[in-house]
Symmetry: C2
Subunit: 887 residues, 2 copies
């Protein structure tokens, strides 16, 4: 039998269609696995799967099961009764079922399960009769009442546990196993009373009622908080819903010839090719998880039940060959008979993922292209940053949690200013510092560089601290003020976090991959040189079409990125060089100039610095593209706002504090993100464009002459919103560059392109493309303006957006393909139509995000550019995108 919303997976039924993807979508991963195992003739308890579509319908119907679905469920139960010869609620041989969730992608431990369903006062007696084991039967019954009450009806678990403790005390026993059949029966009575008191009605005796309530509970658990958080972390859409698997119970707890266990075909921590697992005799699955007794390693089963062991080994081997991947299996032995309850591709560490992928290729099981799909790009992160020692981490409890802004782990002594960070790291007893700030600003850049980690109270995943830290590969936890009670007092140098006060010099540890904050020092394990990494990445590189560039603002970052495999620079932010040493002085002089002449004089001081920086970068990158963006931030970012600092600076600059205050005030903006910045600066002060062109072209000429290989500079104009704006700045670049090149007597070409980061630029991309050599999508700003979300401020309401499922993902981390993506796709299409030579890239944060990279591959970009430490991730994501696209 079959019906749209339910599929029987028993032999002779139609759950197995052969189309594995479609099966997973409809039946969920677990349901599909069960159908496949049965199809392959493996021992699996009979049952049926209620589809993910039924889950969607449940939510559409206001969290209710429709009569048609119920009818179908009961029809499936009748069929199951026929197959098993057992009957729901039977007094002689009752049918008991497990009810388990099963989403398309496994979400281990996130949703609910109900075992032993079908027990009531009559069938419990029947189970006792049938098994000749009343203690087992009533143990099952009391477990069921407890589980049903807790999971389905949300009666607090503790009420039941207290009663078990009371009974054990009364009986003067220590372990549950010492309780007798009568004790269990007594517990059933007590438990049913608890249910009645809490629910205002008797515990349901009708197994059909139990079943429909259990199915609803599993559907409901799709929407529980931990499932929502897990989905957000793993980019699993809420719309998918979960399937429900209803399966005849087999009992691992029916005696010493029974048992239950889990096993992996290869080691999920190291990838070693060796069956690994554990089991418990006379137990149900939950006992293994609960850790009441210590399980035995799977190898012991060979001695205890050699035939079962051999059968299991054979099945495990078949499953791995069938799925061509490491399997994570659950099994139960009932009276010496082996049943497979589940198989799925096992979760694994990054190290294991690489080793398994490489080994499977060596073993001839998969092709290199298939191997490329077997490693989650994001996992590579952990290979590239120092991590806490896993054991040491287990001993530690977080004292707070922020946003996991830049991966890796850090441990150091607290400092509260960038200056302190700089000076303290030079002291013997300090060396390692963690910079703790309300927020960071461009002038903190050097202090950030010398810190082990950065912790901020405000700001999101794309705040200054987060962006800069990711660029440096420094661990960073951001915005810890969103969910914690935090106060920083700079004056007395204290951080109060959730009630505890930390002083300057106190040790603190940060996990930039989880956002966790820890008290004291946690040991770090060294970032490893993985032997499989190079082999694996070479396959990825040969599979991808997209170029992978990096965002790098200085020679150190650039060298790092090149080591990580970057093929060019998609974004060099010139202003990030403005803060070091004497430069900031000249920059401020430029800002405070009253005339063009004064400004040109100040710019003349900045130019040699810029030229030297570009020269150093060209020496590293050679003739590969180095895309240098003109000055982007509003000028007020380079000036202080606090009266005291203004006074100091005024003295330094030799102007009055009043005058400087006036300048600072006149530069103030209500919405700086949409203010006087980007190419708008070159429209009002064309001399800035002249200076920057000079610095770039001179550096390129010098290095070209040094090496004899002629560089092609890429000059990028930010924040364009209108083609005439681009043309105006381009004209300055062209006239300045052409003269330098002519005077140098060199045959140098150069390209002038623009960021596409303002919606209007995307909407007029055709016109701009006629003038521009390349586009680089600035998806950070484009996301801000397309959504109207200020990334500095959106954290305040994004929480509510996730809670209400209006948004499931942070659009600053994962490209919004519907809205922002539409603008990107339009620009690509219309830009290329008007200029077939147009080069297309992206340099926003999304350049290192796998799902976004897949989108960029699809719309036909030439390259993605991301922070150095994300380069390997982008390379792999680009490869996977290309392979998936080819199908």
């Amino acid at each position: 039998m079959s019906c749209r919303l339910i599929y029987m997976f028993s032999e002779g039924h139609d759950a197995f269609s052969g189309d594995l993807t479609a099966m997973k979508n409809t039946l969920g991963g677990k349901g599909a696995g069960l159908a496949e195992m049965i199809h392959a003739g493996m021992p699996v308890p009979q049952g049926f799967t209620i589809t993910t579509e039924a889950c969607t319908k449940y939510y559409e119907d206001g969290r209710e099961l429709g009569e048609d679905i119920k009818k179908d469920i009961f029809a499936c139960i009748s069929e199951l009764e026929k197959i098993t010869g057992k009957h729901f609620g039977d007094k002689n041989d009752p049918l008991l079922v497990s009810v388990r969730s099963g989403a398309r992608q496994s979400m281990p431990g996130m949703m609910d399960t109900i075992l032993n369903l079908g027990l009531n006062d009559v069938s419990a007696e029947g189970l006792a009769l049938k098994t000749g084991n009343p203690r087992f039967a009533y143990d099952c019954y009391r477990r069921f009442v407890q589980m049903f009450s807790d999971v389905v009806m949300m009666v607090p678990k503790s009420l039941f546990e207290e009663e078990i403790d009371k009974l054990k005390e009364k009986k003067k026993v220590k372990n549950d196993t010492e309780l007798t059949a009568d004790d269990m029966k007594e517990l059933v009575g007590i438990f049913k009373k608890i249910y009645e008191e809490n629910e205002g009605r008797e515990f349901p005796q009708d197994p059909k009622e139990q079943l429909t309530e259990a199915v609803k509970a599993v559907f409901r658990s799709w929407d529980n908080e931990r499932a929502n958080v897990y989905r957000r972390m793993n980019e699993i859409p809420y719309e998918w819903g979960t399937a429900v698997n209803v399966q005849a119970m087999v009992f691992g707890n029916s005696g010493e010839n029974s048992g239950t266990g889990v096993a992996f075909t290869r080691n999920p921590a190291t990838g070693e090719k060796k069956l690994m697992g554990e089991y418990l005799i006379n137990a149900q699955g939950e006992d293994v998880v609960a850790g009441v007794r210590t399980p035995s390693p799977i190898s012991h089963l060979k001695d205890q039940m050699p035939e079962v062991y051999d059968e299991f080994i054979g099945l495990a081997d078949r499953l791995e060959k069938y799925y061509k991947d490491m399997q994570d299996m659950e099994f139960t032995i009932e009276d010496g008979k082996l049943y497979m309850l589940q198989t799925r591709n096992g979760k694994r560490t990054a190290q294991a993922a690489l080793k398994i992928a490489c080994d499977l290729v060596s073993e001839g099981m998969i092709t290199e292209r298939e191997a490329v799909l077997r490693v989650e790009p994001k996992q590579l992160d952990t290979l590239l940053h120092p991590q806490f020692d896993a054991e040491a981490l287990k001993q530690s409890t977080p004292i707070g949690k922020g946003l996991a802004a830049s991966p890796g782990s850090a441990c150091g002594r607290i400092v509260f200013t960038a200056e302190e960070a700089e000076s303290k790291v030079k002291e013997k007893d300090w060396k390692k510092v963690v910079l703790v700030r309300l927020e960071t600003s461009p002038e903190d850049i050097i202090g950030m560089q010398v810190s082990q980690g950065i912790l901020t109270v405000r700001g999101g995943m794309t705040s200054h601290a987060a962006v800069v830290a990711r660029g440096m590969g420094t661990c960073c936890v951001c915005g810890c003020g969103n969910d914690n009670d935090v106060a920083i007092d700079y004056a007395v140098k204290t951080l109060v976090l959730n009630g505890k006060t930390y002083k300057e010099g106190d040790w603190i540890s940060l996990d930039g991959s989880t956002g966790n904050i820890y008290d004291g020092q946690i040991a770090l394990s060294d970032s490893m040189e993985n032997p499989d990494f190079k082999r694996f990445m070479s396959w990825a590189d040969s599979a991808r079409r997209l170029g992978v560039f990096t965002n790098a603002d200085n020679p150190a970052d650039l060298q790092n990125a090149v080591d990580m495999g970057a093929e060019g620079v998609g974004l060099c932010r010139t202003e990030h060089m403005f803060f070091a040493g004497d430069r900031i002085k000249a920059v401020r002089e430029m800002i405070c100039s009253r005339t063009k002449e004064e400004r040109e004089k100040a710019l003349a001081k900045v130019e040699p610095f810029q030229e030297a920086d570009f020269t150093a970068m060209y020496r590293i990158i050679g003739t590969r593209p180095l895309t240098i963006r003109f000055l982007d931030p509003p000028l007020h970012e380079f000036l202080p706002t606090e009266p005291k600092k203004i006074e100091e600076l005024a003295k330094e600059m030799g102007i009055s504090a009043e005058e400087l205050t006036h300048i600072v005030q006149s530069l103030h903006e209500v919405n700086p993100m949409m203010g006087h910045r980007g190419c708008r600066l070159c429209i009002t002060y064309p001399e800035i464009a002249v200076m920057q062109t000079n610095a770039i072209i001179k550096a390129a000429i010098a290095v070209s002459k040094e090496t004899g290989e002629i560089i092609t500079p890429f000059i990028m104009i930010p924040l364009t919103c209108e083609v005439k704006e681009f043309r105006f700045v381009k004209n300055i670049v062209v006239s300045t560059a052409d003269e330098l090149i002519k005077n140098a007597g060199i045959d140098m070409k150069y390209k002038v392109g623009t960021m596409i980061e303002i919606p209007r630029a995307a909407l007029t991309a055709g016109a701009i493309a006629k003038e521009a050599d390349f586009f680089s999508f600035g998806t950070n700003d484009l996301t801000q303006m397309t959504f109207g979300f200020s990334r500095d401020d959106a954290a305040k309401f994004l929480g509510s957006y996730y809670d209400t499922k209006i948004l499931e993902q942070d659009p600053f981390q994962h490209l919004d393909q519907t809205g922002v993506g539409r603008l990107v796709a339009m620009s690509c299409k219309e830009g290329r139509a008007d200029n077939p030579e147009l080069e297309l890239g992206i340099c926003g944060e999304h350049g290192g995000d796998p799902s976004s990279v897949e989108f960029f591959n699809k719309v036909g970009l030439d390259y993605v550019s991301c922070s150095p430490y994300r380069v390997p991730i982008a390379r792999l994501a680009a490869a996977q995108a290309a392979i998936k696209e080819e199908g």
Copy 2:
């Protein structure tokens, strides 16, 4: 002869094509008029027109005339020599020409003119011989040297004037006319020397060189500053360019039987049907303009030269009948022979425009639909606001200039705070005040209402002051700090404007239609009740397809708008009601609430105020649409930021200053425009939506019961960027409203729609349309985010954008049809595709801008909504758009 870039308009040539629009585009208004007059057989000096395309080519070629154009020009000169029998530079009968600009739309006085071209040492003598009048010949020559030097070579005019003065002193004469032929000859010598000293070369004797330089000068004058400003004011595109008309000179200064003059077929000030004009005997055109002698009224010509007069009357009549509009004509009489030099549709006042349009219909000359096209919509403004008395204004010199933010004129005594405005107007000696502020904020609303006018230092055309003032119909000049040296000291209550200090109580006058600021009092003329207005507007209303709604936030504005012809309310901003009286207290209590319960308690206090406001508005508007927008601004706008005010408020609210400071700080946003506002407030605090729905529906039910006519409320959700967001808020509205309606036992429908003001909303309009009953384009915010221009900050760089022609218009005043318009058009198309019933409107500032209204008509909106005083403008603009569309 004819060529692409030049057309001869002499008889037998092809300038006249019959397609008047094409002629105007190519030949400019003046060139087309000359061709038409010649075609009609009128006496016009022969010549040719260099087209607007040649002007474009001039700019494309780096401000040079190509050899091909020059060749064509000289060919035309040869042709002209044939026709006139005169020759360029001839020693017996020289050909002299005038070189005049002529754009598609007339831009009187904005560009350059050169007369008497062709004179040199030889031809001056020839002219003297031919006319027997050496004084006349050398007067022409010295005028030409002076004009050529000034206009073409930019040699300062004053150098020449000083020499005339010197000579007059030497000769002891008072008037130029007393100078003799020899004096004139002497002046020519002196003038040529001045030229030589300034230009480093002799004055050009070759008439062809004179001509090419003069043509270039006229083309160049298209880009002079006053032309650029004029174009920006009148929305004339820079790309159009100007044509140049080269015409054989006729001389009104060749004796007592000669003369020159200008005339209108009807009175341009009143519209009265009576020829009006003036002339000078023995003069050239420039003398009439310069006002050296007082001209005679045209009626005197009847006595002085009866035949010429009759001929002229006949021609004027023919021209008016030909153009079917009031004509502005220039003529010259040379030795008793009349020549028409120019005819064009005359500029006129609003009052005259209405009268002429109505009279022409009464006279059967034009249809009502044609009449509708004869009045500039913007002109209606002057009919609806008080204006300075024209005579009094002539006596006054502006002391500064800001943006013409809200039309009308105002005169009052200076106050510096809204509170002072409120209290001072109650005093006998004050009554009339002008509110002078750095910028205004929502809490100033009442002070603004009682003021005659508002002057702000900061902010643009869509700043708070500008928007609110236009809504009230109050005169406002904004952002006077952009181009003036301004300082306000609130502490000592002074305004220092361009060096002069004004104290509280000093009189000041503002012209909101020009942006001019005047010292002291200027008399106002009463805003008149125009008898033609109603008749004219009824024609407009019957021609238009677009509905015209109003933006109104309170009963007074609404009544005003209804009187102006508004057919509904497109935008009622609920928050504008939040500041009056006790409301702000309850609103602040709501903002400072720590729990949902506290917030609900505070909202319960706000609800009755809102309900009362809506009730009052429903009583005025009845069953016509009243679109009420949910709370939009970020909450921090309702709290003070200055420490002292915080302290006061904290005391008032009974909380500590620390706590309130903390709240204010936690609400602070880096980019409030893209922060926690609009429907985002309803996502985090759904109880706000509940309260506002309650207030709206209860008010609608009450008024429906009162009148027996059932109202359909329109509820508008602001700042939507995603359909799920809209659905979330809509669900709250629906469940709240349905219960109220059910309980009231009334058969009330209601509509829930959204603003489309975030680019992403436009990009996902199809999905949103499936849920929404209507869209209202919020083109202010949509412009901000599409351009990435903060309207509070953009004034700082928009000046440079105009100077460089990157932008020609303020996109906040005139819809950017390319970018923002593309989003609007996309939304309309995709929204209607997914919901054919979708109602479409616009409620941004552009709803009252004629060119924008034309666009909205084209893309198929159902209505535009604008501030009350713009309703008549929008009605007329909508009518013109509909008529133009039908062709």
